[in-house]
Amino acid sequence: MPPSQVGERPTPESEDQLKELVLKLPYVKAVGGGSKPALSRDATISMAAIRGVVDYLPEEYTISVRAGTPVQEVMATLEEHGQFLPFDPPLSSAGATIGGTVAAGVSGPGRFRYGGVRDFLLGVTFMSGDGRIIHGGGKVVKNAAGFDIPKLMVGGLGAWGLITELTFKVFPRAMETLTAEIETASWADACRLGHELALAPLDLLCLELAPPNKICLRIGGQVSSLQERSERMRRSYGGDSWKQIQPDALMWQDAADFAWAGDTNALVRMAINPKQMELAEATVTQWSRADEVQRRYGVGGNVLWMSGPDEVLGESVPLLVTVLNRPALAIRGTWDVARIGGRPPNVLAERLHSVFDPQRRFVPPKSQMA
């Protein structure tokens, strides 16, 4: 078993090696690709060698991959058949793995139209805390048999098992896409327009809001229809500020990679309700170093991504967590715990977790459960 390049962690290559490690280590924490350090700084095992596409059936809209496979590799494989992961997995350029994406439970801009990582995950194979290999879910696009175990891996931060293999539903990519930006007079106007766009039957693929006053939207479809659709939207919603953005694909890849955030900054995610966008901005803009904090409201205002220097976010995010009454998840930066604001213990989660990890090997020694 060669040591991993990052931090000399053991890098098991087989289920047997994995099992040996799981039963030996007092604390088992996986690291995938190194893209969400705040979540895997304390990792004790690298999953990088459990890698590769296991089975790709374009005609079935399904793909099975090992957990340590870089998202980029999965995307490239799908691209050959004009297909994609509709939730636009974030941080692919930074080397995110598919296992880490599921464990972190994060989705990118495309989440708006068809759903997030939870909605496209069909099946999972993982090692439980007592060293058993468990298969949950199925390998076909529709399946209602048995408990939906794969869902517990989504956002489980590695505390529910070491994921070894994942099966996803995939979709055909739109023939062509088109992106436009709209500027409004104020943030309140941007929020209002954002709500209006989300409510209309426009079939938007992505809808994001960027303070102080910008809306970014994407549509996809046949080459012959997009200009007309865009023209109709411009007339109804855009007005003079409507601006088509090219190249469109690059812009959304940047969005999924948080290019706006800056590499050295901390990065934090909060799942919110679209109605909270105004309150969130009103709160953040009062901070003394607000100008150093970048914000993006994704998925039509259902997720807030925030970036800034460690010390600024470290101080202010907990305040925002209180104001919005929503926990935050640290993705990058220096944090004591990944989940800021914590969450009240949940009985369902606690009871189930005792089955997945009876010896609590997957739970950080001094933290609460994920």
């Binding site: 059936l57 005609e59 079935e60 809209y61 399904t62 004009g82 439970g105 989705s107 989440r111 759903g115 997030g116 939870r118 909605d119 439980s128 468990i134 298969h135 199925g138 076909v140 696009v141 529709k142 399946n143 209602a144 048999a145 048995g146 408990f147 939906d148 175990i149 869902k151 517990l152 956002g155 489980g156 505390a159 979709f171 990519r173 709500h195 989300a198 409510l199 079939d203 479809g221 046949q222 229809s225 659709r229 909060m270 799942a271 919110i272 309700n273 679209p274 998925v299 997720v303 929503r326 926990p327 989940r339 949940n346 009985v347 369902l348 989660a349 009871r351 189930l352 089955v355 994920a370």
Partner: protein, 483 residues
């Protein structure tokens, strides 16, 4: 159960009065879910009026070791809502308020007894709708949908119930109340909402459900094409998929279903067609217009004849009425039938259908097929006559062959109807011993006393007697039809 009386006394202390039904005559209506051959009398039925009733009842059940089962509209097709012997049925229908419907966050918070279709009706004024559309939509409840992760004709593109629920308030089998998820589309932490959905009542009872609503598509385009073989219709599905189009629905009916639909609702199909394919495109009007020539081209090349295009909403409804009535119509061809809902990989549809034909010949029974071709979700209807000695057993055996076929082809024993009582014995063929044991352990961790809907999904316990009793009363009245 040892001591009914002290249990009933505790229940009455909740102030449920006349809403606790214990007389045998009152219980008859609850003894089956109507569509399967299973029957069982509960020891009592509680008509819950509010969440406190449900929580209080479950606490009493826990204390007295009485098994319980929540019941929505009792439309389960897998025996999921057949009562537990000596158990309590908690009827959820009166918890039927839409608590909140918010066009800005595009969510609705509903009580579990709310009828599926009522959500879309309430959302319509905002141009929104609730996507999962089981054909039992006019009667089944959101609580039942959550328990079974129900689907409909639009699953390929939009997913099942689980893809449209963001939050849940639940009561666990020992009476503890838990809030899962939120009113955000995005989750944080392990997806407990998703894990609860499809747990078939074994993890407790849903008290409140937060649903995600979608804007209603601006334009639909519905096409119906005839083929001289089922295989060609299956190939056409593959060709549509390969073309890169993502239709809202892709459905196939076989000859027997067509005959039935023609007799029932004057649907029109060409006389010699062996299969008919229904494809529906939907989206913004320019988009649909641009996709139409592509779709027509594919359909032409697929060897279809007599394609019927729905020029307007009325024609569209006619196509769907034919499709949706097919099941109840098939029911008229036979005194009884069993419906299965196994899934196979889409590319193996042709093979699966040919095998089912062989089984039918071998068992000398008629099997009709109406199914969600887009996601490989078969709905074979096995026609039999329960009054004939041994027919039910043969039908069940034939159903078993079909389930095993689905497993062999790499699919699933159920796409949307759930395992229930009916398919629990096939769980061990779909899942390994280790995986199944893990599910038992999950159940054990949540419900050590095994009180929440015991005997369903996981293969244990004694099955209630099989009793044949024909079509669901609602079906006989023509209110709903089976998919």
């Amino acid at each position: 159960m040892h001591d009914h009386e002290s249990f009933f006394r505790d229940l009455r202390r909740l102030g449920v009065g006349e809403r606790l039904l214990t007389r045998p005559a009152q219980l008859v209506a609850y003894e089956s879910d109507g569509l399967t051959a299973f029957r069982q009398k509960p020891s009592a039925v509680l008509l819950a009026d509010n969440q406190d009733d449900v929580i209080g009842a479950i606490k009493a059940c826990h204390e007295h070791h009485v098994p319980f089962m929540a019941r929505g509209s009792g439309t389960s097709l897998s025996g999921g809502s057949v009562p537990i012997q000596d158990g309590l049925v908690i009827a959820m229908n009166r918890l039927n308020r839409i608590l909140d419907l918010d066009p800005v966050s595009r969510t609705a918070v509903v009580e579990p007894g709310v009828i599926n279709l009522a959500v879309s009706q309430a959302a319509a004024e905002h141009g929104l709708y609730y996507a999962p559309d089981p054909s039992s939509g006019p009667v089944c409840t959101i609580g039942g949908n959550v328990a079974f992760n129900s689907g409909g004709a639009h699953c390929l593109k939009y997913g099942m119930t689980t893809n449209h629920v963001t939050g849940l308030k639940i009561v666990l089998p020992d009476g503890e109340v838990c809030q899962l998820g939120s009113d955000s589309l995005e989750g944080d932490g392990p997806d407990l909402v998703g894990a609860f959905i499809g747990s078939e009542g074994l993890w407790g009872v849903a008290l409140e459900v937060t649903l995600r609503l979608l804007p209603k598509p601006e334009r639909f385009y519905t096409l119906q094409a005839a083929y001289d073989s089922l295989e060609k219709a299956g190939t056409a599905v593959a060709m549509v998929i390969a073309s890169g189009l993502l239709p809202g629905a892709l459905e196939i009916m076989d000859r027997l279903s067509m005959d039935a639909a023609m007799a029932a609702v004057a649907a029109e199909y060409s006389k010699d067609a062996k299969a008919v394919l229904i494809v529906e495109l939907e989206g913004p009007r320019e988009e649909v217009e641009a996709e139409i020539p592509l779709l027509r081209d594919v359909i032409e090349k697929s060897g279809a004849y007599q394609p019927i295009l729905a020029a307007d909403e009325e024609q569209r409804q006619r196509i769907w009425t034919g499709r949706k009535s097919a099941f109840s119509a098939v029911g008229r061809l036979s005194p009884d039938f069993i419906v299965q809902d196994g899934v196979v990989p889409r590319s193996k549809l042709g093979h699966a259908l040919a095998e089912i034909d062989k089984f039918a010949a071998q068992y000398q029974m008629r099997v009709a097929n109406v199914f969600h071709a887009g996601d490989g979700n078969l709905h074979p209807l096995i026609l039999y006559d329960g009054r004939q000695e041994g027919e039910l057993e043969r039908a069940e055996e034939l159903a078993g062959e079909i389930l095993r076929l689905c497993i062999r082809l790499g699919g699933s024993i159920t796409g949307e109807h759930g395992v229930g009582l009916e398919k629990r014995n096939y769980m061990s063929e779909m899942f390994s011993e280790v995986d199944l044991k893990f599910m038992y352990q999950m159940r054990e961790a949540l419900d050590p006393r095994q009180l929440a809907n015991p005997g369903k999904m996981l293969p244990i316990g004694t099955a209630p007697a099989l009793v044949s009793h024909g079509a669901h009363p609602l079906e006989k009245q023509g209110i709903v039809s089976r998919y």
